[in-house]
């Protein structure tokens, strides 16, 4: 029920966003739309977890996406619900900015690779103690996330669309002050934190 209501709300969000763009209205559309939902705008389903969900609105605006063909836009929309409140708005804003940048940089670009973005969000969802990373996009349109504390503490993950990740770790060599240990490798998104944790990365990558 909650998923269905979320799909309906996203459908209305997309329809409303297109209308806003068509009429050249507010640039702060997303913020205003979320506020309208939260204050119980008439006939709009709530998307706040653990709140009783009601139905309403016109059938004409319902556009549930196919599960395997989520767009980058929908993934960015969903992360407002599934990621920690401390940074989800900031991260959503950053990802929207990146999506626009990637689409603007290459005329035929479809934007950020959807599989890569999905895997990135899944990692943050599975590890809510991780801090919000610095996020950029590689030339292949994949997400590249970095957690850093100075030049000798680096943990970066390159999210490939197929569930694999490539990672880099720089950390101090505790037995030889002034020297660093530098590692790189490949793994999958579901194990990467377990692979990296023994190297002490959570000391600077998590709260």
């Amino acid at each position: 029920m909650r998923e269905e209501a979320t799909e309906l709300s996203f459908g209305r969000y997309l329809a409303a966003k297109k209308a806003v763009a068509a009429y050249g209205l507010s640039e702060k559309f997303e913020e205003e739309y979320v506020q309208a939902v939260c204050v119980g705008y008439p006939r709009v389903s709530g998307v706040v977890p653990d709140v009783s969900i009601g139905q309403g609105g016109s059938m004409a605006t319902q556009q549930p996406p196919v599960a395997d063909e989520q767009s980058a836009e929908e993934i960015i929309w969903r992360l407002r619900i599934v990621l920690p409140v401390q940074y989800r708005a900031r991260l959503a804003s950053r990802l929207r900015e990146l999506q626009k940048a990637v689409q603007g940089e290459e005329l035929d670009s479809g934007g950020i690779a959807v599989g890569s973005l999905r895997n990135f969000v899944e990692l943050l969802k599975a590890h809510p103690a991780l801090r919000c990373p610095a996020v950029s996009v590689t030339p292949d349109r994949n997400i590249y996330a970095s957690w850093k504390s100075g030049a000798d503490r680096v943990f970066s993950i390159h999210f490939l669309p197929d569930g694999k990740v490539r990672f880099v770790i720089f950390r101090p060599n505790d037995k030889h002050p002034g020297q660093a240990i530098r590692l790189s490798g490949t793994a999958t998104v579901d194990v990467i934190i377990g692979v990296a944790a023994p190297h002490g990365v959570l000391a600077w990558a998590s709260e």
Partner: protein
């Protein structure tokens, strides 16, 4: 001339698209190779006509505007050739030796390339290069 080795004391500039800049800080993704790339594309600053850094930056901003879709937040990273080569050779897992060569183009006479970055080591090379950025400037005038 095309193929000339750019000497270590000289400098190059790397265009960093807005998607590689986070809160004004250039990320390692700006220095990452694509699989089809033979080299990392840069511009040789000492080949430009500008007499000083400000002049060189202005010339590159004009060049970028003719070749690229330059976002408002795009930057250019200035690197010293010798520092980049030393950093990567000394701190990469297999002591990669980079060469920076002039790749003259009719519409881009200062165009050059950083060769020797292995595709399978692109992330670690990119992180090392990002650590030795000397200066950065807006890519758009």
């Amino acid at each position: 001339m095309k193929g000339d080795v750019i000497p270590d004391p000289d400098h190059v500039a790397r265009y960093c698209g807005a998607s590689t800049v986070d809160e004004g800080k250039i990320q390692a993704a700006a220095f990452m190779l694509r699989e089809r790339d033979a080299y990392l594309s840069v511009n040789w600053l000492e080949k430009l006509r500008g007499p000083d850094r400000a002049g060189q930056v202005g010339e590159l901003q004009k060049l970028y505007a003719t070749k690229l879709q330059v976002g408002a937040k795009a930057r250019m990273a200035i690197l010293n050739v010798g520092t980049v080569r030393y950093k990567v050779e000394n701190e990469s897992p297999d002591k990669w030796v980079l060469r920076v060569l002039h790749e003259f183009e009719d519409d881009d006479p200062s165009h050059s390339g950083i060769y020797g970055i292995p595709y399978d080591g692109r992330e670690i090379a990119a992180e090392l290069i990002a650590q030795v950025i000397l200066e950065n400037y807006p890519a758009r005038a």
